[in-house]
């Protein structure tokens, strides 16, 4: 068996899996937005029938979305299994082979987690498991995107400009911190969504007409009196409002951090560097994400807008992580490869004057 680092089709397949995973995350977002996660009350069966044989005539209402989510999840599970096998057989880097296996066990864990979210819902664990399931989905998406990057030609030694440098290492720290901030934002978002309380604060840019809404018992009672939930959402509480407001504040922090990263990349990386391209794209994506967040409020959580917000949240997180990896490639590669030919940075003299 020939193993190598140059597996073009493996890379393409990993990219396909990444797209499928993003679609799955999006479909999960639809399920949560519509509040139909428990439309199929059993797992791994569907209303007592084999999941794969459940007749389409019964895919009505919320069942359609929840059942589709389960079937697409099964497909992603199988695709991941193939990826793990493919990487194991054809990839020469041992650590990447193990990463493929971790992806396989990760998708199995995520599938079981989704099942447990259903099974233990009636035991009072639905919210916590739902949040964990949502966040783990994002982490799995990152893992698949990472494998796609590691199997790319660009990653595998065809980087022409490699050099170690302190400014770039500093930039990488910014990417890491910003990506962690986005992860925190995703956790806040998942917490909001899985409490099934709808929009805890229905207006923007103000919040219940103020910069910071009142959260005393009388005010919350008044808010609830005016929320006419169409899907039986739970009454909101003060913690719901606080989590919502933190999500807004963190969004601003993310925007500031991403703009800072892009600015630092332009300052420190060489013209044409992928770090500049990706971080500029990152700013664009975050701006669109911000608009989608606002539209989610103004549209009172319209399904398509909210789902786009969830999907783009995953893309934002993924871009941050890829920037961490790409910057790591520049920083760590020279220590391992003595054949560095050209710096991705501006010459030292330029840096001093920058």
């Amino acid at each position: 068996m020939t193993r190598s680092t140059d597996n073009v089709w493996l890379h393409r397949y990993a990219c396909l899996l990444a797209v499928a995973t993003l679609f799955l995350v999006t479909l999960g977002g639809v399920v949560t937005t519509k509040g139909v996660g428990m439309a199929v009350p059993d797992w791994p069966t569907t209303y007592g029938e084999n999941m794969f044989l459940f007749p389409p005539s019964k895919w009505i209402g919320g069942i359609f979305y929840e059942h589709s989510h389960r079937l697409v999840a099964s497909l992603v599970g199988m695709l991941t299994m193939v990826l793990a096998g493919w990487v194991w057989l054809k990839e020469s880097r041992a650590w990447l082979r193990w990463l493929g296996l971790i992806a396989f066990f990760g998708v199995v864990f995520q599938g079981v987690l989704g099942g447990m979210r259903v099974v233990f819902d009636t035991h009072g664990w639905g919210t916590e498991l739902g949040i964990f399931h949502a966040v783990f989905a994002q982490l799995f998406f990152l893992l698949v995107c990472s494998i796609a990057l590691f199997t790319s030609r660009w990653w595998n030694g065809r980087v022409e400009k490699i050099a170690d440098s302190m400014p770039l290492a500093g930039l990488r720290k910014f990417f890491i911190a910003t990506t962690l901030l986005i992860l925190a934002q995703l956790v806040l978002g998942a917490t909001m969504r899985h409490q099934h309380a709808g929009l805890a604060v229905p207006d923007f840019p103000l919040a219940y007409g103020k910069l910071w809404p009142a959260t005393d018992a009388a005010s919350v009672e008044l808010y609830n009196a005016h929320r006419l939930e169409a899907a039986g959402e739970s009454p909101i509480t003060a913690p719901h409002i606080i989590v919502h407001m933190l999500h807004r504040l963190t969004a601003l922090a993310v925007l500031f951090a991403v703009i800072s990263c892009a600015w630092l990349a332009r300052r420190n990386a060489a013209p044409g560097s992928p770090l500049i391209k990706f971080s500029t794209l990152w700013v664009g994506i975050v701006l669109i994400q911000l608009v989608l967040g606002i539209l989610t409020i103004w549209s009172q959580r319209k399904v398509d807008v909210t789902t786009a917000h969830v999907a783009l949240g995953a893309v934002t997180f993924m871009l941050g992580w890829l920037l961490v990896l790409v910057s790591s490639r520049f920083v760590t590669a020279p220590r391992r490869l003595a054949s560095a030919v050209e710096s991705p940075l501006r010459p030292a003299a330029q840096l001093e004057h920058a």
Binding site: G48, I60, G61
Partner: protein
């Protein structure tokens, strides 16, 4: 043995004869509630529900009577054994729960029915320990038996297949409860003489209590007004 039974029966009859007090009243809503949200049905439900339906948060009669207020004796009444008869049935018909609010006694069985020729899931969401959360499918017209052992006002029932379908069940440990009708009227019968605290619970308008004293055979009135406050008030 026979004598004991006779004595107990006479005592029970005497007790019930002495427990003829009645509290009735009308609940009103002042102010203007927010408009209800129209519900967009899916294709399957559109076939069994020809009418345009909307949420039922504030159901108010022309003379301001507020429907779906759960009224019960919060303090002063002793817990009573659950009756053998089943409580009010909660029906799913035309992709809507009917009634919107019902009351049952703790330990009293009641049915949740699917009258529609399509699948609904019945998901009860109690919060009090001892009341069991359940989520079952009703793929065809059928009934399912439910019971809650602990007092809880109010428990939500949902159908996640059709997320706009939800209703509420008030569970009380004695039989002294009622739900206001479409005119906002209610009546609680058979109360023993005593001092009571009534609680009036509306899912949106809030909760209010009122103290009342009734003697044997009294017929007392306890009216109440909720206020739909404007935002920021």
């Amino acid at each position: 043995m026979k004598t004991t039974l006779t004595v107990l029966t006479i005592a029970a009859l005497a007790g019930s004869a002495a427990s003829a007090a009645e509290i009735s009243g009308k609940i009103k809503l002042t102010g203007t509630p927010p408009p209800e949200r129209p519900i967009v049905l899916d294709v399957a439900c559109g076939k069994v529900q020809p009418n345009q339906i909307a949420t039922r948060h504030y159901v108010v009669s022309p003379d301001k009577g507020l429907a779906n207020v759960f009224v019960y004796v919060k303090e002063g009444a002793k817990a009573a054994p659950a009756p053998a008869d089943k409580g009010t049935m909660l029906d799913q018909i035309g992709c809507q729960y009917t009634p919107y609010v019902i009351g049952v006694q703790a330990g009293q069985h009641f049915d949740v029915k699917n009258s529609d020729p399509l699948l609904h899931n019945v998901h009860s969401l109690p919060k009090v320990a001892g009341n069991k959360e359940r989520n079952i499918g009703q793929p065809v017209p059928m009934k399912s038996d439910f019971v809650f052992d602990k007092q809880e006002v109010l428990i939500q029932f949902k159908c996640e297949v059709h997320p706009w379908m939800f209703a509420y069940v008030g569970v009380v440990e004695h039989p002294y409860f009622a739900v206001t009708d479409k005119d906002g009227s209610y009546k609680i019968s058979g109360l023993p003489a005593g001092d009571y605290t009534l609680e009036f619970v509306h899912l949106k308008a809030g909760r209010q209590t009122q103290k009342i004293t009734v003697g044997a055979d009294d017929k007392k009135t306890a009216d109440l007004t909720f206020e739909a406050k404007a935002p920021g008030q």
